[in-house]
Symmetry: D2
Subunit: 342 residues, 4 copies
């Protein structure tokens, strides 16, 4: 049993983390902080948690975070980098669900996130929390940078191809689609129901913050520079990411066997039978990534379809998976929920 | 540990039952039958169950249902009444999620369901599976008639008022709204996405099969004849029922206290604080019914808001709750999932 | 040909007004004001208007509104009451799509809208713009108070019953459902896609601003005090209002004939054949109200189903209908679009 | 004024054609045929048409189609090829909204559509009805093959690049997304609201009937063989197609200027300002195609975003555009509706 705190629990990542942690047998929730909602019962803001979470939001300085075994940051970008140092020094392990520690090149991070990094030395130490790549390092990590939602779906889809050196790394395409919860629980016009409903559009074509994060991971996998075109789109659904990935084959290979072998021992990556096309709802509310690989008309273009729930494997679920690794719990503990369909 | 069979597992009630039973610690799934899909792996039809349900659909006659401790019927109306007799006689307990055994007046049932009842003597024996009313009888029942989705939401909302004799029973109004999954997983034009999406309408205003079922329950609660106007509506959402109930007060009462007292010991009925208005999503994928009671402008009209997930408390979850009661398991076993929000 | 100005064109009422006016053969759009967007091309904010509206938003004081024949206020409540006086005195006719002039009892208005009325003497003069009731007065009006969306649907549904004195006016129930665009184009959390999608809920049960407006209209129709319970609900769709109305009959009547006779000459009220149940989509993007009247099981409860597009007959379309009346154009001019289905 | 008949008016293409033709000043609708619905009033099936279309469905043989100036086929594939010959011989001009005459290579057509072509000689004569390519031939055509929805969006997006020879034709990618109405108004499980709602998936990755149609058009534009990867996806919205197109640049060019020049005189193709990203809703219920061209990070990958309403520019609207050309009406007549937003 470990004692856990959450900084910033009023967004979708926060409420999803609460949903998962409330059902986790080895977690005692000590505090959830929110400056804005301090004093309010958590289940008033999120009635879905009535009977499961009895805490009220607390002020960060009164939350006793330094006495926790683990603190999650479910905050906007730029918060964790201000507070992680103190916690880590106090022996508290930290998982940041925001982007503060994901990109190793601090100058690149500062360019995309538009702020000065407050704690560059922890960037170097932080472990990128994609268990399918960094499992061993995560186990020992003091600070884990939980991956972004798009980066999780895209990297898991491309990894087998790049690690095997089968495709041209200079012309990778990631046509990605996300449900609206990926934009967070912020009062912004463009994600209103009457704006995003019954509509479909691309956004961020000229550049998106997840581009450098994805590229960093793909380059590590391929061992060379990678050219990536990343086009995200907004889908009128609540949860789910579908990444449709395109690459050009440079040599023959049994792609189905390759993918199955790569993920044979991964509890949360499910390679579908040949010819499959995964629905996002087949992973709804679960920590799974389901993947299918295609080679249309037997040509030299590989198409990979990769789906996750952006709030689970793309955020809170992956964070709990990382927590399980860090504290020596079974990796799937508290994460075996069956996807909710329909 | 009990052995369980499911007859007819290809609809939404079936897949939801599988989702819940797959996570239930006291259940071993023996068979799921479907004439149409016999031989096909269940997780091919429902990829959400990959890794959780390893069965293939089987032919009913080869399923060994008579060796089960319990058989669920997740079939269209009219199937269970043909097969329940043999199972019950063989000592198998039965829960019918369809309507075959819900209405005690067989002639009335035959009028609304348009067929001759094949097994009227079991109707008399069957226990109506609303635990909040019939908990004791359910424990001993050989055959449970699992309530309909609308009837669950409407009865739980009206019960406290009628049991206390506070309202005029002659003019009850149940303005009810259901997500589209309530219509089942049948290929019918009117529930296509392009028909039911971005649209709202009433249906069955002249008469709906759930009307006599609701009326039977309300009359039992009030001990007298009841006049009920029931207008169902189709909502462009997948899961959820919202019943907005209207009744005329005949005497003063503390309605909030009345409701809280009535449901104080009910694990799956949550009376919200005064002034609340429940979202259907606050019970999504859970077995909860959340209720709020209002008296607008202090007049003599009571308004009760009652929400459930039609596939859980309105179908599969309530069936599992009944199973728990029948076999002496804790009533909430396998039913403590936190609602999925957003 | 008249010259028209719009004050406040950045909300849904504004863009819908632009859609309709851009296609109106007797209208020349002179100006659309928005302090916040001044200088920006209208079709940058609303790309749907590219090629149809060439104006840029302008500052109110530079818009030359006093030279228009007609000015529409598509502003938040409280704006028109500050500016209408000057325009009316300058001979400009005014239609306010907000609530400033809808309620004759200024004290009641001030209570519900939470502000001091800036121009009570114009309230007395203003004509409530429901053509089916006030056609003649609208023709001569200098200032029209365009009705609210719920009030339009509810009043048109109840009017025939109340005018004929057929129902008990003390216990009217209006269970009303609205698409999310009814909440406007404001950045608020509760109307985000991920909040309002796949969800259904009541709101404002204790009290809603449209209650006094509806009640005022129903009392005028019935000639006596009216008791109304009004429960609005939020539907996960973009456009559309569905009002399900309940009343208790006091005497026998041919309800179908009554409704057909009442609306026989109304170009925008369509009484459906007996037994019908209107979809909201059957009026999508059109100025129609479709109504069906039912008497379930032949009892004494009348059920009226009334649907409109909240942005058209519930706002901008009705405003154009009023404009047509005020300027002697054919009442349906520019409003004959076929509803968009699916 | 011309006399027009429609064969098969019960699908979405049919009701959309009726919506447009009912508002067209030069069209008199003579008959709409449907074997299944013969005798039923059209506005009973589609209440949105009440007051706009007074016809009943008729049997094909009693519809007097041979006396029409023009007959539209809004039928399933394989119907028009059986009936067009007789009509054309009788001097009736024909527009087929299905696929029977779209592909010049009859053997290829037979492979993809799984049937023997009944009228190959008319395939040779038929004009592919994409006005932006074949305007002149359409004017004279006796038989027009109206393009598919995906093919319209994809071809209009790729044409400027291929005509100018700027991109590698061997590796074109069309990642395409369609609203559910694109699947038609057929009672099929996979397009139920509860299946397609809140979900996203690819389909037809191994092969889709629109692939050879698109390829034929792209090859004509580029004058050489084309390698195309086409991945369609199903979006939980009613109307709209969004094609995200990828190609590799072979030489420098001002892409924005290229696209603007190519479509400068096209009334229904709107090239958006540089940096834009079109919403599908910005063309909802209109005949427009809006296009934006991007070159992310200045690399050699071109990204084109192309949106249409699949039922209008992707079907019925384009058919009316072709009709206007064939009969010498202004090309935009009856097609100037402002898109419906929100």
């Amino acid at each position: 049993m470990i004692t856990v705190g959450i900084v910033g629990g009023t967004g979708y990542t926060g409420v999803e983390l609460l949903r998962l942690l409330a059902q986790h047998p080895e977690v005692r929730l000590q505090a959830i902080t929110s400056r804005k909602e301090a004093g309010q019962a958590v289940d008033t803001l999120f009635p879905s948690l009535r009977g499961h979470v009895d805490l009220a939001f607390s002020l960060p300085e009164q939350a006793g975070l330094e006495r926790c075994d683990l603190v999650f940051f479910a905050t906007p970008n730029g918060v964790a980098m201000e507070q992680a140092r103190t916690l880590v020094d106090a022996g508290v392990r930290v998982i940041d669900l925001a982007a503060d520690f994901r990109i190793k090149d601090v100058a690149l991070w500062e360019k995309w996130y538009g702020m000065k990094h407050a704690c560059p030395e922890l960037v170097a130490e932080a472990v990128y929390g994609l268990p399918e790549v960094n499992r061993k390092a995560i186990r020992e990590a003091r600070l884990v940078a939980n991956p972004g939602c798009y980066p999780t779906a895209v990297q898991l889809g491309f990894l087998p191809l790049l690690e095997a050196g089968l495709v041209d790394p200079a012309h990778l395409i990631a046509d990605s689609k996300s449900g609206v919860s990926g934009a967070g629980r912020k009062a912004e016009t463009h994600i209103l129901f009457a704006e995003a409903g019954d509509n479909f559009k691309a956004y961020g074509v000229a550049g998106h913050r997840h581009h450098p994060e994805i590229r960093q991971g793909l380059q590590a996998a391929s061992g060379q520079a990678v050219g990536l075109t990343f086009v995200p789109h907004l889908v009128p659904m609540i949860r789910g990411i579908h990444a449709t990935l395109y690459a050009t084959l440079r040599q023959e290979a049994n792609l189905q066997a390759l993918f199955e072998a790569r993920y044979a021992n991964e509890p949360f990556v499910d390679v579908l039978p040949a010819g499959s096309q995964p629905d996002t709802r087949s992973v709804r509310a679960s920590n799974l990534c389901r993947i299918a690989v295609h080679r249309p008309q037997g040509g030299d273009t590989v198409v990979v379809l990769s789906v996750i729930d952006n709030l689970v494997k793309g955020a809170a679920g992956q964070a709990v998976q990382n927590m399980n690794l860090m504290f020596g719990f079974p990796e799937t503990l508290g994460l075996t929920q069956v996807p909710v369909l329909p």
